[in-house]
Symmetry: C2
Subunit: 232 residues, 2 copies
């Protein structure tokens, strides 16, 4: 994150954000919604992954997307074609979503729909491998994406994101044959930072790994305690 | 950048950074050094571009590198093989270099070497397409890199970086045939944000465009007013 002149102020900033995140999560729990926070560098493939996910799981799960971008609604417009609510948040000059911005999105969702009907809210964060990892937004799990084009050293160089992730998607696997990337080294580096993260190699273009991703997603929704309570 | 609770504090933060940047630039000017700030998403190819640059121009220009990374000296170690001074700065949790960090690097350079012997200092920033664009470090020009794998919409979605850039390298051109990227659309989008930026498509792997990049670099060094003064 940005350094300020005042360590206490940084702590306050993160503390206030955490309180907001807990408040958002309480809403999700109350409504029986599982919320996931998708984070990566720009262009690692968050939006195309969401496109594939919405297209495939639309009949099975009631989903909504909270779409964070600094400017433009380009990604939100792509996702609206899949006939799910997409709430666009422009962060302006801010390099990540924070819990207050997502709170605004949640309240719009609750105002325009019956929130208890939803199973899954997918938050697409601003493309940034650094800052979003430090600002929880109320999610139940964090999903990081790393494209094979980014190189096998990235988990070591940007450790916070990889420490925080519950699931790591290695994206654009179809490009791996055209690169010098050492996939075993990449996985080794990830495990050094986070031994227990679920790693799923995927290629949205060929469909490789998507069934594994969908199974992970279903499992996240099913293990939601409030959902189990609601359907008991 | 991160939002704080206090707009005045943000202005102070950027103002203090700007003062530090001006101070750094005054040192560079005094020593006849041209300083460039290289910025991009993680894995767009900043380090490999520096490797090619150091290998090719080492006999012609006296260069040094200030290498910013959150953690590790992996990139610094790669560059030290080229027999130029590489000053590594670990930013910790900070998502960008700021002028104070670079000031520390400059003072180390001046302490360990005769700074007036250098022509060019290349600053490699933390991999982040958002935050580094807002924090000048004392550079004479900003160089942004965007990989063809990141997609043609990025200039619109991350406008600050593209507004600020004096030179934009479109990297990994060798991968373009394997992607759906529309290169004309990419250039159109860049020009919408910054009509006058110099755009150079490159591929470090094949050497495509590197001569154009070296020519741009030489021109930056030659147009330095203090260098012209020093050699008059």
């Amino acid at each position: 994150m940005h350094q300020t002149f005042d360590a206490a102020l940084e702590i306050n900033l993160l503390h206030a954000n955490q309180q907001g995140a807990d408040h958002n999560r309480a809403h999700f729990d109350e409504w029986g919604i599982t919320c996931l926070n998708l984070m990566s560098s720009p262009g690692a493939g968050k939006t195309v992954l969401l496109e594939r996910t919405l297209a495939t799981l639309n009949q099975e799960l009631k989903m909504a997307v909270i779409e964070g971008d600094m400017t433009t609604e380009l990604d939100a417009e792509r996702l609206r074609q899949y006939d799910v609510p997409v709430i666009a948040i422009n962060t302006g000059r801010s390099c990540h979503l924070d819990s207050k911005m997502v709170s605004g999105g949640i309240h719009r969702l609750a105002h325009e729909y019956n929130p208890t009907e939803f199973d899954l809210v997918l938050v697409e964060n601003v493309g940034n491998l650094v800052c979003p990892a430090e600002f929880e937004v109320g999610e139940h799990a964090k999903v990081a994406l790393l494209s094979v084009t980014e190189g096998e050293d990235k988990p070591l160089k940007y450790p916070v994101m990889f420490q925080e992730a519950d699931c790591l998607l290695i994206t654009k696997m179809d490009l791996a044959p055209h690169l010098d990337i050492d996939l075993e080294k990449l996985e080794f580096n990830v495990r050094q930072i986070n031994p227990h993260v679920t790693i799923i190699p995927v290629a949205a273009k060929t469909g490789e790994g998507l069934e594994t991703w969908f199974a992970w997603l279903r499992n996240q929704v099913q293990k939601s305690p409030t959902k189990q309570l609601a359907t008991a």
